[in-house]
Structures are given as structure tokens and as C-alpha cells.
């Protein structure tokens, strides 16, 4: 195998890994937003998921259990948001911000004595024989469990939203809450479920960072990925498969920066580190310029509080 080919394969694999936390976080937010819930607190839910997942995995030695804990922790954080934004009808923007601030503080607080502790790795799903097939092996079979789970999740969400009755009801709640209510659908319950799903996914996305990607706990280790995930949902115009595309583009931008440095091109690492954030801005600008298209795709009841009396 040529050097360039093996570098290219390594870059693809690294891109998928870098994109995976974004896939989880963004697909969860996508479901919540399709139900009309704008939860800006992804960053907080990811951090809480990352730290709780890490604590459980490090103390039991069981990384899979860490992911379960991360999902539950993310759901717990989302439940705070749900109680306020859904039941008490608080401003969703402000409540999401509060969750982002609270989650970051709580995670730093919980994780302070877990910084720098190493973690046992998690076995890869496919056997060595499959992984060592030239080219196709590392690209198709070389990844960890969660990369495959993220793909399955996107497929599952796409199927659920567009091919099932439940998905139709969820979208109805997000598009027109009054009509959905008039038809007898439990608007609040559906929004709660969507919010909790979003929390679980954000938790797993955070857990991926602390359990597999790094794998360590560090304060604020999500480094804005929760916010990038929000931008990804807009980029995807609320369609599941495009989330995947967007997440890998961002993963690719991150990895490309590292590759440029590795290739010995003299560019300051701090300037390279800016690229995913600048790319997010550029993508937002490009996608948002067509205001009509954004308006057509945005769930019409997004961020609107619901009360049967109103």
C-alpha cells in the first residue's frame, strides 16, 4: 500500500471519528426541533454526558456502561430543560442558554478529581481479518461501535420521521401545535419524549468524546461542538441524512487542519484550531442566504411555548 493511500485512509477514518459526536448531538437536536423544541443547551448536555459517562466507565471499567450512563445523564439534563421550557413555558432561548451554562459548571464540578485519568479502550466490533482487507477493510470495518451506532441512529430517525405514523405526529406537533392539539395528540408528551431523546443523544455524543475520542475527561472538552451541532441542524435544513453529511464535513475540516500541520507546513496551531468555528459561520451564511428555503424547512412551531388555553 502506498504512503499516500494509507494517509488518505487514515484521514477518512479520523474524519468519521471526529464527526461522530456531532452526528449524535445534531440528530438528537433535529428530532427535538422537528417536534417544535429549540434546545440550545446541547453543549451542557454533552458535557454532563461526557463527565458522568467517564466517571461510570472509569470506576466500573465498563465502557459500554459508561455510554448508558452518558445517555441517562444527558436525559437528566434535558429533563430540567423540559420541566421549564415545556411545563412552565419559559423562553426557550434563555432556558437553553441556562442549560449550557449550568451543564458546563456541573460537569466541571463533578469531574474535577477525574481529570487526566486514563481509560481502558473498547474492543472494535469487527475481527482483525475483516479489518485487514486492503482499502475496504479500514474504511468499512475499522471503526468503533459508536460510529456504526451513529449511522444506525440516523437511519432510524430518518425512517421514523418520514415513514411512520409516530414520526408524522411528531412533525405535526412541530409544524402546527394548535392543530395537533385539536386532533387530540398529546403535544406536551410528544415534546417531552423528543426533548429526552435529544438529551440522550447529546449525552452519548459527549460520552464519545470522553470515552473513545480522547479518551479522557477535561473541563469544557466539547469545545463548542454542542453549538456546532445546532448549526448543523440548520445546515441540514432539518433533514436527517444531511446531518450526517454536515457532521463529516466538519470532522474533515478539523482533521484537515491537523494534517496540514503534520505535513510540516508552518502555520500556527491556534490559527488552525479556529477553522471549524469559521467553517460553521461560513456554512451558516451560505445556507441562510436563501431565506425562503430556511423558512420553508423550519418547523413552524419551533420555540413556541404550548398551552391548551392559549
Amino acid at each position: 500500500m502506498g504512503d499516500e493511500l494509507s494517509t488518505a485512509i487514515a484521514v477518512i477514518a479520523a474524519t468519521l471519528r471526529a464527526g461522530t459526536p456531532l452526528v449524535f448531538a445534531a440528530i438528537g437536536e433535529l428530532v427535538a426541533e422537528r417536534a417544535g423544541v429549540l434546545n440550545l443547551g446541547i453543549e451542557g448536555m454533552m458535557l454532563v454526558g461526557a463527565v458522568v459517562g467517564f466517571m461510570v466507565a472509569a470506576s466500573t471499567g465498563l465502557t459500554p456502561l459508561g455510554f448508558v450512563a452518558a445517555a441517562l445523564a444527558g436525559m437528566g439534563a434535558a429533563a430540567i430543560y423540559g420541566a421549564l421550557a415545556l411545563n412552565l413555558m419559559t423562553n426557550q432561548v434563555a432556558t437553553g442558554l441556562a442549560l449550557a451554562i449550568f451543564g458546563a459548571g456541573l460537569a466541571a464540578f463533578l469531574g474535577q478529581s477525574w481529570v487526566g485519568i486514563p481509560l481502558p479502550g473498547m474492543a472494535l466490533p469487527f475481527p482483525e481479518t475483516l479489518r485487514s482487507i486492503p482499502v475496504a477493510g479500514p474504511i468499512l470495518f475499522g471503526h468503533d461501535w459508536l460510529v456504526y451506532l451513529s449511522l444506525l441512529t440516523v437511519a432510524g430517525v430518518a425512517f421514523f420521521l418520514h415513514r411512520t405514523r409516530g414520526g408524522l405526529i411528531l412533525r405535526a406537533v412541530g409544524e402546527n401545535q394548535e392543530s395537533a392539539h385539536a386532533l387530540g395528540y398529546p403535544v406536551l408528551r410528544i415534546r417531552w419524549l423528543a426533548t429526552l431523546f435529544g438529551g440522550a443523544m447529546a449525552g452519548i455524543g459527549g460520552g464519545y468524546l470522553s470515552l473513545i475520542y480522547t479518551p479522557q475527561w477535561a473541563e469544557n472538552m466539547t469545545a463548542g461542538r454542542g453549538w456546532i451541532a445546532l448549526a448543523l441542524v440548520v445546515f441540514a435544513t432539518w433533514r436527517p441524512w444531511r446531518v450526517l453529511l454536515g457532521a463529516y464535513v466538519f470532522g474533515g475540516v478539523t482533521i484537515l487542519g491537523l494534517q496540514i500541520q503534520a505535513a510540516g507546513i508552518a502555520i500556527n496551531s491556534n490559527l488552525v484550531a479556529m477553522t471549524p468555528y469559521l467553517a460553521t459561520i461560513i456554512v451558516l451564511v451560505l445556507i441562510s442566504r436563501d431565506a425562503t428555503r430556511i423558512r420553508l424547512h423550519t418547523p413552524a412551531s419551533l420555540a413556541r411555548p404550548f398551552h391548551p388555553e392559549a
Binding site: L40, G44, I80, A83, L84, L88, M89, T90, N91, V93, A94, T95, L97, A98, L99, I101, F102, G103, A104, G105, L106, A108, F109, Q112, E219, A223, G224, W227, I228, L230, A231, V234, N268, N270, L271, A273, M274, Y277, L278, T280, I281, L284, V285, S288, R289, A291, I294, H307, P308, E309, A310
Partner: protein, 354 residues
């Protein structure tokens, strides 16, 4: 079962009471948290909220913490009233600090009969404005969400700071430490109170609150801003430009945040360092809401939030509590405030859903 019904009129008393209820509930949770951590809550409260302000020096230190919070929150509140969501004040602080430092190192000895700190301070405000202008431009020209753009710029600004303190602005005599040279004395902000660190930035913060109050409550433009946020359709019908409101909100809040960043480096810090703000830009969001988006309320809220910062530092030293506890309290406070606010407009009643 409990349910909410709409009040005929929003409760005026609850509107004022809600922040106090939120503070009380935060303290209750804090007490539970202290017990869970094996600390005596009375001791912890005394260490965090009482001992820091036992003498004039303590109060002056509170003033140092409060100044950037007021400056940022007053600006943000003007935007929030107009439904313009600048949540990137932290980035605007950082860029303001960089701009101020650059000018301070270039011109800090003063000249033209001007005090040495004046140009750096103005450069800081300008830097914050430039950083705030980006989301305003992209919002008005390309419809890009200002929340996400302003937040992304926090990270970009953070890396910019790391770059300049390690690269172009690093002190060649710093033995490799990532920091700029100390600013010349004339570039440092005047101290308001001898033997303390209370600097001119505190006075500027109070002035900003006063001017903001005049702007919001007494000026025609302030009315346009408020209407644009509260009744966008009416504002559009009246022919008020939404773009101007977005630009105005970002330039004001960005400029004030930049001023806050400048005052931090020209005041207590005295040089550019890899960390210029412990999250003042984000805490200011909470301060703005807690202060009911009103300048006087913001001063009161900033005093409380400043005490969280001051107390958090003391709790870390005396009680070995992690400094991150400040962030937990900040988040809780905003949660409780948002929850309490619901009851201004809604009443809790017993009975099943109809």
C-alpha cells in the same frame, strides 16, 4: 392535578419578587449541596457571601468584579429587549482586550496631552464593536442566526488571544511565558480608591448603566428598539428598520463588552494574558435577565453575581471547593429565575385539565 391558568393581568408584585425567589431557591440548593459535600452550610455561606465584604477592601474587590458584568449586561439587555441575541460578549471582551493591549503597548506613554489609557480604552471598545459587527452584518445581509455566529466568534476570539500572547505580542523578556510586556504606567486605568484595585472601569460601568437607562426609557430610538422586540409586526408597519435595530444592538453591546475587556487588561491585569475573563460575558447574560433587563436591576444583579465570583474564589481557598461551583450556581439561578417568571403571567391552580 396541578395546572397553570393565565392571569388576567401580569402580577406586578411577583415581577419584582421573582428574582428574590430565584436567589432564595438557589441558596437553598446551595445549602443542600454544601451538606452533601460534607461542609457546614452556615460556614460555607459565611465564607462565600459574608466574609468577602467585611471591609472596604472587600467591597472594592467586589467593584472590580462587578464592573465588567455591568458593562456587558447593560449592553446585552438593550439587544435582548429588541430580541437581538448577542451571546458572544465573551468573545467581544477578549477582542477588546487584545485591541486595548496592542494600543497600550504602542502608545501607552500617552501624548497629545491625552492620558495614556484613553486611546487603549477606546481601541478596546472599537475592537468589541468590530467583533460584534460580524454577527450583525451576517444577520442583516445573509440572514445567518446571530446566536450561533456570535457564539462561534467566542471560540475564534479565544484562539486569536492564544495566538497573539504566544506570537506577535509576547514579551521577549518573559522567558517563554505566554504574556505581553506589562503596560507602561500611564496606560493603566486610574485607581478610584487608594490602596485598592478599584479602577476607572467601575465608574464607567455605572455611567453606562445611567446612559442605557436614558436611552431605553427616555429616547425615541430606545422606543424603536423596544417595539422592534416586543411587537415586530407593529414596528415593521411603522416603518422602523429591523436592520438598524440589529446593528445598533450589536454595536452597543459589542462596544461595551470590548470596553469591559479593555478595562480588565488596563486595570487589574496590567498586561495581556492567555485568560482575560473568567466567563464574564456569559455571566452577564444571567445578570441581564436577573436584573429584568433594566439598568438599575442589572447593577443589583451584578453585585450578586460578582459576589458569586468573589465567594467562589474564597470557597476554593478556604473550603477546598472547586471554583466550578460558581458556574453551577449561575446556571441554577437562571433556571429558578426563568421558572419563577412564569408565575408572573400564570397562576397555579388545582384541578384536572379541561
Amino acid at each position: 392535578m396541578l395546572r397553570l391558568t393565565r392571569r388576567t393581568n401580569p402580577s406586578r408584585s411577583l415581577e419584582i419578587l421573582a428574582p428574590l425567589v430565584a436567589v432564595a431557591l438557589t441558596l437553598v440548593v446551595a445549602a443542600i449541596l454544601f451538606v452533601a459535600l460534607g461542609k457546614n452550610p452556615a460556614d460555607a455561606f459565611a465564607a462565600m457571601f459574608w466574609r468577602p465584604v467585611q471591609d472596604l477592601y472587600g467591597w472594592s474587590e467586589l467593584g472590580v468584579k462587578v464592573a465588567p458584568l455591568i458593562l456587558c449586561a447593560v449592553g446585552l439587555a438593550i439587544g435582548f429587549r429588541a430580541s437581538v441575541w448577542n451571546i458572544g460578549a465573551e468573545g467581544q471582551i477578549v477582542v477588546g482586550a487584545i485591541a486595548a493591549s496592542w494600543v497600550a503597548l504602542a502608545t501607552g506613554e500617552g501624548g497629545f496631552g491625552l492620558p495614556g489609557w484613553l486611546l487603549p480604552l477606546l481601541a478596546g471598545a472599537l475592537g468589541g464593536m468590530v467583533w460584534g459587527a460580524i454577527p450583525a452584518l451576517l444577520r442583516t445581509k445573509a440572514n445567518a442566526n446571530e446566536i450561533l455566529v456570535s457564539l462561534m466568534l467566542v471560540y475564534v476570539g479565544g484562539f486569536l488571544l492564544q495566538y497573539v500572547v504566544r506570537g506577535p505580542m509576547r514579551d521577549p523578556m518573559s522567558f517563554g511565558f505566554p504574556q505581553s510586556p506589562m503596560f507602561p504606567d500611564p496606560a493603566r486605568l486610574p485607581i478610584l480608591l487608594d490602596t485598592t484595585r478599584l479602577h476607572l472601569g467601575f465608574a464607567l460601568a455605572l455611567l453606562a448603566a445611567l446612559v442605557a437607562w436614558l436611552f431605553v426609557a427616555r429616547s425615541y430610538q430606545g422606543f424603536v428598539f423596544r417595539l422592534s422586540g416586543e411587537a415586530p409586526a407593529a414596528a415593521a408597519y411603522a416603518g422602523f428598520s429591523r436592520a438598524k435595530v440589529i446593528w445598533g444592538s450589536f454595536l452597543i453591546s459589542g462596544g461595551l463588552a470590548g470596553l469591559a475587556g479593555a478595562a480588565e487588561v488596563l486595570g487589574p491585569i496590567g498586561q495581556l494574558q492567555p485568560a482575560v475573563s473568567p466567563g464574564y460575558g456569559f455571566a452577564a447574560i444571567i445578570v441581564a435577565f436577573l436584573g429584568r433587563l433594566h439598568p438599575i436591576g442589572i447593577i443589583a444583579a451584578a453585585l450578586l453575581m460578582g459576589l458569586f465570583y468573589l465567594g467562589g474564589e474564597i470557597a476554593q481557598m478556604e473550603l477546598q471547593l472547586p471554583i466550578a461551583i460558581t458556574g453551577v450556581f449561575q446556571g441554577l439561578l437562571l433556571f429558578f429565575l426563568l421558572g419563577a417568571d412564569t408565575f408572573v403571567r400564570w397562576r397555579l391552580v388545582l384541578g384536572g385539565t379541561r
